[in-house]
């Protein structure tokens, strides 16, 4: 019964990020290029990448670390099947598989250690079976059978988790069944009077937007992973989208949720926009990370597609000024759909990813811009940083809004740096994950992680966490200085979301993944010590579990635990995330 989603498997990499046809490589001339046709950068030569890559990491194109090319079935542990359960599933007609490839594909998210192991062909505990329900009722049946036969269920959406949430607990002795929601991908109805859409939870972000766009609507929810992540996953992790300033985060977008639990189906009886009926049960569901049940259907707010979109960018003399500007924008509550501030290292990184320019004229213009900023305005190229902006709305308002933001920026020494820089900044969001695979071909490993922090702490946390990463790498014997960089990706009234990127060349280390994990652990400790949160939107999974008690207090843990104990006393949803 291999592959009820054969298409998906064939077009996706099994041991790296994204589509099989899209990847970075250094061609025979040593120039970097991005393959495929799917992205704006696809098929382009990126002349600056090689120098940046070698210079930043001390990497060398001669020193390669290619992945194991094919998955060998012998590396996959045999499936422990619960025969009675399998028989009953078979009788329901719901498709399932215990094919090794299907199981391995759903045994991981995209944490560094997970991908690193796959590239080495090392497979740990994987689900014993995959089921593909195609609607809510299928899920109800599967959950009932799972309870009846005491098998462990692990919901699987887009597989983009970066919290070890999809890792099978090695101590789990029951048969583990991966419940893949990918076939539940329909928009069931659109309500234009109330501007809502009722959608099955397995739909992935890009399909949801595309389908809604056909009717002239959008949700506006655009997490960086939206190509692959699913609606159910967003709900289960409390996701956040790039354009939350206009559309809100997932908790603002959701009107109604239906979830199947071992105790039955949980849902509200109406779709009132706000209710005062005790604690909001949606908040038990959102962020439950698959520990309570499977989200099957969601009613979401929708908006008419924006009439006009405009990118923009601002260069600041230094990161401090940039943060001060973002703070002011947040204070005046005039943040555009998206506003992101990259630090100097990331600015340089972005610069290195500039594709080959087609005409002498453009390169001349680029030179002129550079001259203007560094020589005429006196910005130090080793300090300046860039904010990227995205405005949305009707044309007139966008232009007005744009002016307001640029005026504020000017007060903090910011210079408008053009639409093109802005657009490229956002395009990079989607290709950056592909870059990690390139790094891993040449001894470079890395990852990003995020936090949210009050405004007065933003600068301190950025400085301290970056410094801690550098210090820890040195202490742990990393031979080359690491890349340690950050950006502010979201603004709120009372604080901001900060992303850290961290990568290093691991030549000379015997256990690079362990070193990586130690450094990331230290960085998280540093984040917490500096008043940052455990996670802004990636979630806790198993990776950050150890800090949960300190984060939400003993009583908080007790509350969550008692909910789990009531909803799922036999731990059918046994992925052991969160608690």
């Amino acid at each position: 019964l291999h592959g009820c989603a054969p298409v998906w498997l064939e077009i996706m990499k099994w041991n790296g990020w994204g589509y099989s046809d899209s990847r970075f490589l250094f061609n025979k001339k040593g120039q970097a290029e991005f393959t495929g046709k799917r992205y704006r950068l696809s098929g382009m030569i990126i002349p600056g990448l090689k120098d940046w890559f070698e210079g930043t990491f001390g990497a060398n194109l001669q020193h390669k670390t290619p992945p194991t090319p094919l998955l060998t079935n012998t590396a996959v542990p045999p499936a422990t099947l619960n025969e009675a359960f399998v028989e009953e599933v078979k009788s329901t007609g719901i498709p399932f598989s215990h094919d090794a490839e299907d199981r391995v594909f759903r045994a991981h998210g995209h944490c560094l250690h997970e991908i690193f192991a796959l590239r080495e062909g090392k497979i740990g505990r994987v689900p014993d079976m995959v089921v593909w329900p195609s609607c809510h009722n299928d899920v109800v049946k599967i959950v009932q059978l799972a309870c009846k036969h005491n098998v462990c269920l692990m919901p699987y959406g887009g597989g983009t988790s970066v919290s070890s949430a999809l890792e099978c607990p090695p101590e789990e002795t029951r048969s583990i069944v991966s419940l893949d929601t990918s076939q539940m991908n329909r928009i069931l109805w659109i309500d234009e009077k109330n501007l809502t859409a009722h959608v099955e939870a397995g739909i992935v972000g890009q399909d949801l937007e595309r389908l809604l766009n056909e009717s002239g609507y959008c949700t506006g929810h655009e997490p960086d992973s939206m190509e692959f992540s699913s609606l159910g996953g967003w709900v289960a992790t409390r996701a956040s989208g790039m354009k939350k300033n206009i559309y809100g985060n997932i908790e603002d977008l959701v009107v109604h949720i239906k979830m199947v639990t071992p105790q039955g189906v949980i849902e509200k009886s109406c779709q009132g926009p706000r209710m005062s009926t005790g604690p909001d049960i949606h908040h038990f569901i959102m962020g439950s990370e698959g520990t309570l049940g499977v989200v099957t259907e969601v009613t979401m707010k929708i908006r008419p597609m924006p009439e006009y979109q405009k990118y923009g960018s601002v260069v600041f003399p230094n990161f401090e000024q940039g943060v001060a500007c973002l703070r002011e924008v947040a204070k005046q509550r005039c943040a555009p759909a998206s506003i992101r501030l990259m630090d100097n290292e990331q600015f340089k990184f972005g610069h290195a990813l500039k594709p080959q320019v087609s005409s002498i004229f453009t390169s001349f213009l680029d030179g002129l811009k550079k001259f203007y900023i560094t020589k005429f305005k006196g910005f130090d190229p080793n300090h300046l940083c860039v904010a990227t902006l995205l405005f949305e709305g009707n044309r007139e308002k966008v232009l007005q809004h744009e002016k307001q933001v640029y005026d504020i920026a000017a007060k903090f020494g910011g210079l408008a740096a053009g639409e093109d820089n802005g657009q490229r900044g956002y395009m990079l969001t989607f290709v950056i994950a592909y870059l990690r695979d390139l790094g891993m071909d040449y001894y470079v490993i890395g990852e990003s992680f995020e936090t949210s922090v009050p405004w007065d702490r933003v600068l301190d946390i950025c400085r301290n966490v970056k410094a801690r990463i550098i210090r820890e790498c040195k202490d742990k014997g990393v031979q080359f200085p690491p890349l340690s960089t950050c950006r502010v990706t979201q603004t709120y009234d009372a604080g901001a979301c900060v992303y850290f990127y961290f990568a290093f060349n691991y030549r000379g280390l015997s256990d690079p993944v362990h070193v990586y994990e130690q450094v990331e652990h230290a960085a998280r400790e540093e984040i917490l010590a500096n008043g940052g949160s455990l996670s802004h939107h990636h979630g806790v999974g198993k990776l950050r579990k150890e800090w949960m008690r300190d984060t939400i207090s003993n009583v908080g843990m007790g509350m969550l635990k008692s909910v789990k104990d009531y909803v799922d006393p036999n731990n059918i949803f046994g992925n052991r995330n969160l608690l």
């Binding site: 007065d456 301190d460 410094a467 801690r468 010590a529 008043g531 300190d550």
Partner: protein, 639 residues
């Protein structure tokens, strides 16, 4: 928990004499040379006025001004004025020209006073490195007024960023000199400002602003004041709290603290200190006084050793000890009393840092000689024997003690051969020999007609001066000596028994020596480790046994504490015999002095420490400045 560390395992750097070059090249050229220190992450130095306005505009000060204004009903502007005036009074105004002036003058003075000023260059290099990477705090030991000028002089010499120095207000009493010091980087703080919120907040914000931005290394004396006895003083925590705060609150990635050990062969204020300890009031700091003191220029003060220790990262000190999340829930600019966790962390760190200072103090041969002579003096007195010891016996013992000291980690500076002929050596021997000759009439003319009180005073001066040399090596032996005495007084060899005695003695002497509160077990282990390693003891699970060859060391160690034990005994006896139930602290010191025949008890330092100990042990109670006394609590063995 406090980390165990064994000083004997440390390797020390070599010294270089910075006066050598001064004696061969022009001081003027030296004072005018190009001075380009490297600063923290390449920041540019900040003008005094900019610094002041940063302080006045800080969130913290803003908050406190409003708070004070609300509480006192004064207008906020009025309070702001006051804050600004406090800052004016406090702030340094470092000027390179003044520094150059001092560089010139001090070169002349130092060359006259000292044979050499030896500095460990590697320490300077480490400091340079630290300054570039993190805000730096310099913590020199404090034995003389000379210390901070000396520090700045050395840093200027090596082209290291000049520090700003916390100085007591006393200096401001000195016309002109006060201002000169201000222009060489000193900032002035009042000796006590207990409840003055505004003052405290201006002060702490001022220090933090300089530190956080890395404008200059901040220098202060952990001991708070000059030690008159050459023993390190119990550290004061106020400023250490302030400089650690920016790290704990995440405002900087780290702060590096550099302990600096300044060892004088002979302290300028030597005889002043002994008199001060005996109750002759300290002369008030004044410019004319300074001028009068110029006669010291004609004397030989030997050499100075300045050792810049390993920079200590506050981050690594705090690792696993302080939960920095405690600042997450209140805005960081709102002043709050430090939590107990932080108080104990700062306290432990302070002790560690003082120990780090002590550890790199350079000991000269006469420190050992003074110890031996004093011990001999005490023993002879106790036995009613004729004082004095033969020179070759002294030499033999000194060689023995040299080897023992090295084993215990002392940082000895031992010349190839002790040349007795030099003037300075004569001086030490004069002082020392007086101890021997003490009973027969003291130094100078034996036929002079002095009153018995004056004679006693001059003898006491000699003993206390001698003791101040001995005190320089106390830190090397204090833990083993406590253990030795504990073994001596314990009723059996049982380890627990010995530990109990050790713990009692340690508690009693915790104001006398640098012994970190709460680290009894670690200190006991350290003492055991040292004594076992040097073959003095065998320690089993149950018992503590003295080895055959250990007796000599053990006897030396016990006698080291003897004068202190005797002194405390005298104080106790006095309190027991005193008729009155209560007496004022002011009466206490002269009263004890009267009954005493033991020289060391004459020292007001010991008296105060003993009183503090008795208070801690619950034998004495303090009622608004009076000393109350519970008779039965004096432990029996003290009698």
């Amino acid at each position: 928990s406090v980390l165990l560390y064994y000083p004997m395992l440390k390797k020390r750097d070599d010294f270089e004499d910075i006066l050598e070059e001064r004696r061969t090249s022009s001081d003027l050229r030296y004072a005018l040379r190009c001075y380009t220190p490297v600063l923290y992450k390449g920041v540019t130095p900040c003008k005094t006025s900019v610094l002041k306005s940063m302080v006045l505009q800080s969130d913290q000060l803003h908050y406190v001004i409003n708070q004070v204004s609300k509480e006192s009903g004064r207008a906020a502007d009025d309070v702001r004025e006051e804050a600004s005036a406090i800052l004016e009074e406090m702030a340094h105004s470092l000027q390179l020209s003044t520094v150059r002036f001092f560089a010139f003058m001090l070169s002349k003075v130092f060359k006259t006073l000292f044979r050499s000023i030896c500095v460990n260059e590697e320490g300077i290099q480490r400091l340079q490195q630290a300054i570039q990477e993190h805000p730096v705090v310099l913590l020199p030991s404090h034995r003389s007024y000379m210390d901070f000028l000396l520090m700045s002089y050395i840093l200027y010499t090596y082209d290291v960023a000049l520090p700003v120095i916390a100085a007591g207000m006393d200096f401001m009493g000195m016309k002109f000199v006060g201002e000169m010091l201000r222009m060489s980087g000193a900032f002035f703080i009042r000796r006590s400002f207990g409840g003055d919120k505004l003052y405290w907040s201006v002060f702490s914000e001022y220090v933090k602003t300089m530190l956080k931005n890395g404008y200059a290394p901040v220098e202060f004396f952990l001991e708070g004041t000059r030690s008159r006895t050459s023993k390190s003083l119990t550290p004061k925590l106020g400023l250490l709290n302030i400089v650690m705060d920016p790290f704990l609150k995440g405002e900087v990635f780290d702060v590096n603290v550099v302990p600096v050990s300044i060892s004088y062969e002979r302290i300028l204020e030597e005889s002043l200190y002994a008199r001060e300890l005996l109750g002759v009031p300290k002369p008030k700091e004044s410019t004319s006084g300074l001028f009068k003191a110029r006669k010291v220029l004609s004397e030989d003060y030997g050499s100075i050793h300045v050792y810049f220790g390993q920079p200590v990262s506050v981050r690594s000190l705090a690792e696993g000890r302080v939960n920095r999340c405690q600042f997450n829930l209140v805005p960081r600019h709102i002043p709050r009393r430090p939590s107990e966790e932080i108080q104990s962390f700062v306290n432990d760190s302070a002790y560690r840092l003082v120990r780090a200072q002590e550890e790199n103090m350079v000991l000269k041969p006469w420190v050992l000689l003074a110890s031996l002579l004093l011990q001999n003096h005490h023993q002879n007195r106790a036995a009613g024997q004729k004082p004095g010891m033969a020179l070759d016996e002294l030499t033999t013992q000194a060689v023995w003690l040299r080897d023992v000291s090295r084993q215990y980690g002392a940082f000895l500076h031992w010349p190839g051969t002790v040349r007795v002929q030099s003037r300075f050596y004569e001086h030490v021997f004069n002082v020392s020999l007086c101890v021997i000759a003490g009973e027969q009439g003291g130094p100078g003319d034996p036929r002079s007609t002095v009153t018995p009180e004056e004679e006693l005073l001059s003898q006491a001066v000699v003993v206390l001066s001698c003791a101040s040399y001995r005190n320089q090596m106390l830190h090397v032996f204090v833990r083993p000596a406590l253990l030795a005495s504990a073994i001596h007084i314990a009723s059996s060899n049982q380890k627990q028994e010995v530990f109990n005695s050790f713990s009692f003695l340690r508690n009693m002497f915790s104001s006398e020596f640098i012994l970190c509160p709460g680290a009894t077990v670690q200190d006991f282990e350290e003492a055991c480790y040292l004594l076992v390693k040097t073959g003095v003891l065998q320690v089993t699970q149950q018992e503590v046994l003295v080895t055959e060859r250990g007796h000599r060391t053990l006897a030396f160690l016990t006698s080291m504490l003897d004068p202190f034990l005797q002194g405390y005994q005298v104080v106790c006896r006095f309190l027991c015999e005193e008729d009155t139930e209560t007496l004022t602290e002011k009466q206490f010191i002269p009263a004890v002095r009267k009954v005493s025949l033991c020289f060391s008890v004459l020292s007001s330092d010991l008296q105060k420490n003993a009183l503090a100990a008795l208070q801690r042990l619950g034998a004495v109670r303090k009622i608004k400045g009076y000393v109350g006394f519970h008779h039965p609590c004096v432990p029996g063995w003290l009698d």
